[in-house]
């Protein structure tokens, strides 16, 4: 399975944020969407997630035999950088509701086993979500997306402002979950992208461009990406 984006354009008034995004993402890989602040990473995700209308272009799944399948809401899992959770529920209540609402899912774990998998502390599980820390809210968001098992996982800077331990736990979860789906992970931090992702894609000047990661060990690799961003900026 592939996720194909074809000539995607998004404008805000006269400002063209996504100019002509054309790219093919492959199943089983984590793509690091790297771009500077304000380059349009969140806009790109919002377009794919159907939160905002696009001006032109299309995106779809392409099967093994080349057939096109439209992207349905249930195909997408979206983790926003500032996790918002229904604050009036406890973690357990939210998880119960979420599993019940997804009748098509046959959970292979109990609620507590899911919590254990995501390393959500026991004393947090029956507290209101509004009292959760940023990191635990992030874990909850990730857990729900794991349960829903979407074909396409959009992660919008999910490691931003997480402490070292939680960030490392989250990275492991993302790595463990990459099989059977396409994961696009946006960040403006080069080190995170290099560490976690199988592929690196630059979003700059409204376009997506792959970066060859074969020479990852090369000391000049980071320098090359920075120069690429800078050059395009000047161009």
């Amino acid at each position: 399975m592939e996720f194909v984006i074809s000539h995607l354009v998004k404008n805000y008034g006269s400002k063209q944020v996504l100019k002509d995004v054309d790219f093919v993402f492959e199943e089983g890989r984590i793509y690091g969407l790297l771009g500077r602040n304000g380059s349009g990473k969140t806009t790109f995700f919002n377009c794919v997630n159907n939160d905002i209308d696009i001006n032109s272009g299309e995106f779809f799944f392409r099967g093994e035999s080349g057939e096109k399948t439209p992207v349905m809401p249930e195909d997408i899992g979206y983790l926003v950088s500032t996790p918002t959770v229904p604050e009036f529920m406890t973690g357990r209540e939210f998880l119960k509701f979420f599993i019940e609402i997804h009748e098509e899912i046959k959970p292979d774990k109990t609620i507590d086993e899911y919590f254990d998998y995501m390393m959500v502390p026991e004393d947090d599980r029956d507290r209101l979500l509004k009292d959760y820390s940023h990191g635990t809210k992030n874990k909850m968001q990730m857990l729900l997306n794991i349960i829903a098992a979407p074909k396409l996982m959009l992660l919008d800077e999910p490691l931003t402002s997480l402490d070292v331990i939680i960030a490392e736990e989250m990275k492991n979860v993302i790595r463990n979950q990459k099989q059977g789906r396409i994961t696009i992970f946006s960040t403006h931090l080069l080190d995170v992208a290099v560490d976690l992702c199988d592929e690196i894609v630059l979003l700059h000047n409204g376009r997506l461009e792959p970066i060859d990661k074969s020479n990852l060990g090369d000391a000049d690799f980071k320098e090359k990406i920075i120069n690429a961003l800078r050059d395009e900026d000047n161009g």
Partner: protein, 579 residues
């Protein structure tokens, strides 16, 4: 020094103009419909900036002349009219017309100045331009305030002198013309001195220098309370003798000089700190970052949901349980108030028996007549206390032909708008990031559950308003056809359903709220205004209840089905987080 003052003033006016112009463009861009047509380059259009400058100068001149002339002009006008009366009725104690004019004018000005607005000084409130100049551009806070005070007092002086010319033409003495502007400056300096003194005291007590409005409000209340006594004092031909007035004036001027000295001796740090502690919201913050969400965050983890509720039913039940106060308090309070009014109504009715038959026979008569009423439908006996009271006839007419008017109290009791805000900020805002929440069948399922819930929340006010209308019907002759009481309840219920479904559908069709719970959608506002306007006309239409109820039943059913179908069709696209 003059050069520095001129430079500072130019900076302030320039910045004020930029902030004003950009604020205007920003507000226009946020205006529904028009906003989308306004290009960004408007921020840098020189021609429009010049027009704004001209407009700005006109406003300054307006404030200078009209503002000052209006304030002081009213005092002069009152003094002029009163002095005529004093002379005509020989109350001036031998003073000439001009002297009485001067005496009354000075007296009223002292009251206005010392107790009212003039002594209040705004120089330590940190406006947007002050915030930029002092805290970003690092301008000396004292020099900034000096410049602003000089500019402001110059305007005050010139405005008062101009107003005084009219006073002199109408017979005021020359000393009043020139004396009042000087006195005004003294009062201003006195205000500044007192303000600085209070800051110094707060610093000693390690308190914030935030300017309290309490003292001002107390002063204003005292002035308003004392006002009638002064009016009576003057209207009865009394006046304060000139020597006493002169003493007060001289003392005020001395106090003003003291205030000026205090101001001169104050260092820049105090000015900076006072400004810092009194920063008001900037235009940008005020429009884009106003935090409305605090009142929605008072959630307590109360209990859990018993029974076998699942999925969206479970979500809704939990939501209502944890937001009970927020959702239900207003309808409950409304219901209690209506019930209390009904009790007063019944008490008043019984008092009619008491005043007619005395305490010994009152209850006897009430019970006997009620038994007669229920057994033989003898209304004329039961309604003895009200008889042919025309007020009751009018109320009966309203209860029979103006049931649409129940929409007004029902709308007051209705909490659906706030409920949709709570739904968005505490629930949907987060769930909208999950794909399942955008699926058509799930959206409509939750819509149905929520509509039922809103209708349930409003059931208290529906019963109370229906009961009230029926009570009126009852005490004014009872129902005129079988089932009229039920029809009244039905009408109240259907009107409440219309209110609830309107708010809920508007929320799903426009999702107007930002993450600060501000309703920003122009289409939402326009649609709400249209609905309000139509409803405010409809409530006045007289319609007999037996016609209204079936019409309302058919209309409500059609309206609910129509809005539901719109939600089903459009909400997957429209019900989303505003970017």
């Amino acid at each position: 020094m003059v050069n520095e003052f001129r430079k500072n003033l130019a900076k302030i006016i320039h910045l004020r103009s930029i902030i004003g112009y950009n604020g205007l463009v920003f507000a226009l861009k946020k205006t529904p419909v028009i906003g989308k047509l306004i290009p960004d380059r408007l921020y840098s259009t020189a021609f429009l900036k010049v027009i704004y400058w001209i407009f700005h100068i006109i406003v300054e001149v307006f404030k200078l002349f009209i503002g000052k002339i209006f304030g002081l002009g009213m005092i002069y006008l009152a003094a002029f009219l009163l002095s005529d009366q004093y002379i005509e009725h020989e109350l001036g104690g031998g003073m000439s017309s001009s002297a009485v004019y001067g005496n009354l004018g000075l007296f009223m000005f002292l009251l206005y100045a010392l107790c009212g607005i003039l002594i209040r000084v705004p120089y330590f409130n940190c406006t947007t331009e002050k915030e930029y100049l002092v805290f970003m551009l690092r301008m000396d806070a004292k020099k900034l305030n000096e410049t602003l005070i000089c500019y402001d007092l110059a305007k005050l002086f010139i405005g008062y002198v101009m107003a005084g010319i009219i006073a002199v033409i109408t017979g005021a003495p020359f000393w009043l013309w020139l004396g009042i502007p000087v006195l005004a400056l003294a009062v201003k300096f006195l205000g500044i001195g007192l303000q600085i003194l209070s800051f110094r005291l707060k610093i000693k007590l390690h308190k914030s220098l935030k300017i309290s409005t309490v003292a001002y409000l107390i002063r204003l209340t005292l002035v308003l309370l004392a006002g009638p006594f002064f009016i009576i004092f003057i209207a009865n031909g009394y006046f304060i003798p000139m020597p006493q007035l002169v003493i007060i004036t001289v003392l005020t001027v001395i106090a003003g000089i003291w205030g000026l000295m205090i101001f001169i001796k104050t260092d820049s740090n105090l000015h900076r700190r006072a400004l810092h502690d009194n920063i008001s919201k900037t235009e940008v913050k005020a429009t884009s970052q106003y935090d409305n969400t605090k009142s929605f965050k008072k959630i307590k983890a109360k209990g859990t949901i018993k029974g076998n509720k699942k999925g969206f039913d479970y979500l809704n039940a939990l939501f209502v349980k944890r937001h009970w106060t927020m959702l239900c308090m207003k309808p409950v309070i409304f219901t209690i108030i209506v019930v209390a009014v009904m009790i007063l109504f019944v008490a008043e009715f019984i008092y009619g028996y008491y005043s007619r038959f005395g305490s010994a026979n009152c209850w006897n008569m009430v019970i006997t007549n009620l038994v007669n009423l229920f057994t033989f439908r003898a209304f004329s006996d039961a309604l003895l206390p009200v008889g042919d009271d025309p007020a009751f006839e009018f109320l009966r007419y309203v209860a029979q032909f103006h049931l649409l008017g129940m929409l007004i109290p029902l709308s007051i009791a209705d909490n659906s708008f706030k409920s949709t805000q709570a739904m968005f900020i505490n629930c949907d805002n987060s769930l909208m990031t999950f794909s399942f929440f955008k699926q058509r069948e799930k959206i409509i399922r939750l819509f149905d559950i929520r509509l039922k819930q809103l209708i349930k929340i409003n059931i208290g006010p529906v019963i109370a308003i229906g009961a009230f209308a029926n009570l009126i019907l009852f005490v004014t002759g009872g129902q005129s056809y079988p089932g009229e009481y039920l029809v009244t309840f039905l009408a109240a219920f259907l009107l409440s359903v219309l209110t609830s479904v309107t708010w809920l559908a508007l929320y799903y069709l426009f999702q107007p709220f930002t993450t600060s719970v501000v309703a920003k959608s122009g289409a939402y506002r326009i649609t709400s205004i249209i609905i309000y306007s139509v409803a405010s006309i409809i409530v006045w239409i007289p319609l007999a209840s037996y016609i209204l109820a079936p019409v309302l039943l058919v209309f409500a059913a059609g309206y609910v089905l129509f809005l539901r179908s719109r939600v089903n069709k459009l909400a997957p696209k429209t019900w989303k987080i505003k970017s």
